[in-house]
């Protein structure tokens, strides 16, 4: 088990390294292939009034005129030793671990992302709890009462939930619940949990429900399909024949087996969301990592986008690892070797 985890950790680091190389290549190498010069890259960071000499000076001060691999190496080693930049006569320092330095905002990227992590984490975990409870429960009941009105209605709603984009459901529910009925907080309302847990939950209620609607729909359909399959297995008949209570049969024998694929996608979904729920955060004006990424892209702030990609990729990789380990716990048939 330990050896397995260590091996997987190495794999994770290698994955991140490859992701960083590809991303770095997209931002810094592809523009060069397309004929862009170091000065073209630098011109994004020098304001609107700069003359060609000032642009060239900035390109040099920010290290954009170095060969590609040197630039990548500078970026990589900055994670461990930090890095300095020159803006004309003034210096800027990005302390280790330096995941990049925003040339527009003039600050290191990592503290910004960590500052926004609680928002994204609050959103992701709150929504995850709701969608797992509702999604799985609905799926189980639908499977057990297959063909009933509940089943049809639930699956119909689920289909709608999967199909409706969050920027639509989000804005419509804001108009209905916040601005018309005044039941929930308006967009952009976020209270940190350490300030006031009640306000925290209240302010996030609508984003949670909207985001959970999207996911619980998918989970309900998956659970239903999985349950229908397992409940038809021989060992379920055996369990019933043993005289076990129906509840035990359903939860311990049926659901547990059906949960394995759910756990897999759950881990990946949460991992992805932790890397920024871009649409939800933008719709509800939540200052999370996804919003940070969108703002960075709109501002053409490449170091920020680069830092975000690595950070988000890190979460997906970690989520994958956890899922694989948890697999063995849920399903004894899986052996880690």
């Amino acid at each position: 088990m330990v050896a397995y985890i260590i091996r997987r950790l190495f794999g994770a680091v290698l994955t991140l390294l490859i992701v960083s190389m590809i991303t770095f290549g997209i931002f810094y190498l592809v523009p060069r292939w397309a004929g862009g010069t170091a000065n073209d890259l630098a011109s994004r960071y020098v304001g609107r009034t700069a003359n060609p000499e000032q642009v060239a000076e900035a390109a040099h001060g920010l290290g954009l005129d170095k060969p590609f691999f040197v630039q990548y190496w500078d970026w990589l080693q900055a994670i461990f030793v930090g890095r300095d930049f020159a803006f004309g006569a003034t210096q800027a320092h990005c302390p280790a671990p330096c995941l990049g330095y925003s040339f527009i905002g003039r600050n290191p990227v990592l503290p910004d992302i960590l500052d926004r992590l609680p928002v994204t984490a609050s959103l992701a975990f709150g929504a995850a709890i709701i969608w797992v409870i509702f999604g799985v429960a609905t799926g189980v009941v639908s499977a057990l009462k297959r063909g009933s009105i509940f089943d049809r209605a639930a699956m119909g709603i689920a289909l709608g939930g999967v199909s409706l984009p969050i920027f639509w459901t989000g804005l419509v529910s804001l108009v209905i619940f916040s601005y018309t009925l005044h039941w929930t907080k308006p967009g952009g309302a976020y209270t940190p949990i350490e300030q006031n847990p009640g306000e925290w939950a209240y302010s996030l209620l609508l984003p949670w429900i909207t985001l959970a609607l999207l996911f619980s729909a998918a989970y309900a359909r998956l659970t239903r399909a999985g349950m229908l399959e397992t409940m038809g297995e021989d060992y379920i008949r055996t369990a019933r024949a043993k005289g076990l209570r129906e509840r035990t049969v359903v939860t311990k024998h049926g659901l547990r087996a059906a949960l394995t694929p759910i756990a897999t996608i759950f881990g990946l979904d949460v991992g992805l969301l932790m890397g920024g729920a871009v649409l939800t955060e933008s719709t509800f004006s939540l200052p999370g990592i996804g919003k940070y990424a969108i703002d960075a892209i709109n501002a053409n702030d490449m170091p920020k986008v680069m830092g975000f990609v690595i950070f988000a990729a890190g979460f997906v990789v970690i989520a994958n690892l956890i899922v694989d380990v948890v697999y063995a716990v849920i399903d004894p048939r899986v052996r880690l070797a």
Partner: protein, 585 residues
């Protein structure tokens, strides 16, 4: 057009001014300049007059914007909304008079007791500071702090965003700023005593009082200056100071108890504080203002298309909306250097044949788009005169008879072919190109649409003389906003032929008339305001006569405010609500 920002660059011959973006005014042709107030809610009630006048202090004004602007550092900002907002926490040497309608077309002293005194034919400008000025920490503000603030704003490698007027016009003698030229004194600025500051220019400039209202003249204590990081801890000289600042997320302003009302005749300082949220969803901002959760969208560029029909369609919301005019001209440059348009008669044909009403529709119609323009200078800029050089007919749909006659005179009675360039990512410019394609086809002028990437439009394509001339870009869709409302701020970068550079980058795509160039020099040096304004008006007319610019619309937008706001009016200097004067109920 989320932000008021024109891409362009500066460093020209006469004046390396970056173009800009900054907002612009708002007196519409249908508003008078009376400064009386009204409490009757109606559409456009806060445009040209004060709606809901109030002296009541207290409350918090809640502001939001969908995307961040350059900086809150007064020495590092070039956004109109930012200059509007900076007056809350900084005081510059001069400022636009605070009031609706034409009030703001005049400048007045802010830190300074009054406007500057020119000497040496406009090459030296002297200002006298008021008595009793203090920073938020209680220390006295002296003329040395203003000198330091202007000097640091010269450091464009560190503070990249602001305009370059001081770099271009001060007689710096090689001085680069307090970071680069450490320990040196700025030779262009003298401070004979703590209340006097003298600027020495490298050439006469009559409108220096406009430079003196740039936020870069707001005092910065040298000991507290942290370069690019100063924006995180701006030291207040105005009625409000920063309580908190979170990069990219927002900030809170609270009262600065060291600010003394008796030193400041221009500010009312009604609210107790301001909550500014940055990065909110643009559609949600409109909804929250309509609902009352927010008070104003500080972008000032009007409601999103999603909310427009609701705002204009529901009487109870429409009566909280206004329709200000910006100092922005959306126009099309006519390139006299392509073979088909070398002859002025062919250019005249374009002017006559263009349907101005479809041009207006392309930008969103009379309310959300703008007023049909007949010249370059927008109506709220001093020196404006109603021109009618190329009449588009009584219905503004173009004068086809005159267009055909011009084509005849040009020697191409059946029309000609050329290309029209526009920025691909701008739907309104695409719609403009299509509208012109249709209306010019009526007289046989065939246009081929040529979209270009927005970011490189001026640097590599339309803005580069070699490219536009060899690729037959006869027409180029363009747009321009003034740094401030005067002829220099609006015209110098788009009509002075000497700002055109072979390397590209200038927003002037078609105007290079030697006579206009010398008229510009004359206007820049003129220190008499009335004479100077009249000169800029003449320049406008002269450029129009050359038929190298097809004016489209003077931009307008539909803006909405919450029902909680008091003392609301559009400040023409910014083309936005006056953030300094607004209060809450």
């Amino acid at each position: 057009m989320k932000r008021r920002l024109v891409t362009g660059v500066a460093v020209g011959v006469a004046a390396a001014l970056a173009l800009a973006a900054c907002g612009g005014g708002g007196t519409d042709s249908n508003t008078d300049s009376s400064t009386g107030g009204t409490a009757v809610a109606a559409f456009d009630a806060a445009n040209g007059k004060v709606f809901n006048p109030s002296e009541k202090k207290g409350g918090t004004l809640k502001m939001a914007i969908s995307s961040d602007w350059d900086s809150v550092d007064p020495g590092d900002t070039y956004y109109g909304l930012s200059w509007n907002l900076a007056r809350l926490y900084t005081r510059s040497l001069t400022m636009f008079k605070v009031g609706p309608g034409k009030t703001s077309s005049e400048l007045t002293g802010d830190l300074a007791e009054g406007l500057g005194t020119p000497s040496d034919g406009g090459k030296t400008w002297t200002y006298k500071l008021r008595q009793g000025l203090k920073y938020e920490d209680g220390t006295a503000i002296t003329s040395k702090d203003v000198e330091y603030a202007v000097s640091r704003s010269l450091e464009k490698a560190t503070l990249v965003n602001g305009p370059t007027y001081f770099n271009d016009f001060l007689d710096l003698k090689g001085y680069k700023g307090p970071y680069s030229s450490k320990g040196q004194d700025n030779p262009a600025i003298d401070t004979p005593d703590d209340r006097t500051i003298v600027f020495h220019l490298n050439k006469p400039f009559g409108g220096f009082d406009y430079f003196a209202q740039i936020p870069a003249t707001a005092p910065v204590p040298a000991a507290k200056d942290t370069g690019a990081k100063y924006k995180e801890h701006v030291v207040s000289s105005g009625p409000y100071k920063f309580e908190s600042y979170e990069a990219g997320k927002g900030f809170k302003l609270v009262r600065n108890d060291q600010w003394d009302q008796s030193t400041d005749p221009n500010r009312k300082a009604l609210p107790d504080g301001y909550d500014v949220t940055i990065g909110a969803n643009a559609d949600d901002i409109d909804n929250q203002i309509i609902d009352g959760s927010l008070d104003v969208d500080i972008a000032g560029t009007g409601v999103q298309p999603a909310a427009l029909s609701r705002v204009l369609g529901q009487p109870d919301i429409k009566e909280r909306a206004d329709n200000p005019l910006s100092a922005r001209l959306n126009y099309t440059s006519i390139n006299p250097n392509v073979p088909a348009l070398k002859n002025i008669e062919c250019r005249k044909a374009v002017e006559y044949a263009a349907d101005r009403t479809t041009y207006q529709t392309a930008y969103g119609g009379p309310q959300a788009g703008g007023e049909i323009a007949t010249g370059l200078l927008p109506p709220q800029i001093p020196g404006f005169q109603k021109l009618d050089v190329w009449s588009a007919g009584a219905d503004n749909k173009g004068d086809l008879d005159k267009a055909k006659a011009a084509l005849q005179a040009c020697g191409s009675p059946n029309g000609f072919e050329t290309n029209i360039a526009y920025r691909a990512e701008r739907p309104k410019e695409k719609a403009t190109a299509e509208a012109l394609q249709q209306s010019l086809a009526r007289v046989g002028i065939k246009l081929t649409l040529k979209p270009f990437p927005t970011g490189d439009y001026f640097a590599l394509y339309a803005g580069k003389p070699s490219y536009r001339n060899t690729n037959n870009l006869g027409l180029m869709v363009n747009s321009w906003g003034a740094d401030w409302n005067d002829g220099f701020g609006f015209l110098s970068q788009i009509v002075d032929g000497r700002v055109i550079r072979d390397t590209g980058g200038s927003s002037n795509l078609s105007v290079n008339i030697p006579e206009v160039n010398s008229m510009v020099d004359q206007a820049i040096a003129e220190t008499d305001t009335a004479k100077r304004d009249a000169l800029w008006g003449q320049i406008d007319k002269r450029v129009m006569e050359e038929a190298v610019i097809l004016p489209g619309v003077w931009a307008k937008q539909v803006t909405v405010r919450s029902k909680n706001t008091t003392n609301v009016f559009v400040n023409d200097a910014y083309g936005q609500y006056d953030y300094l004067s607004m209060g809450v109920q």
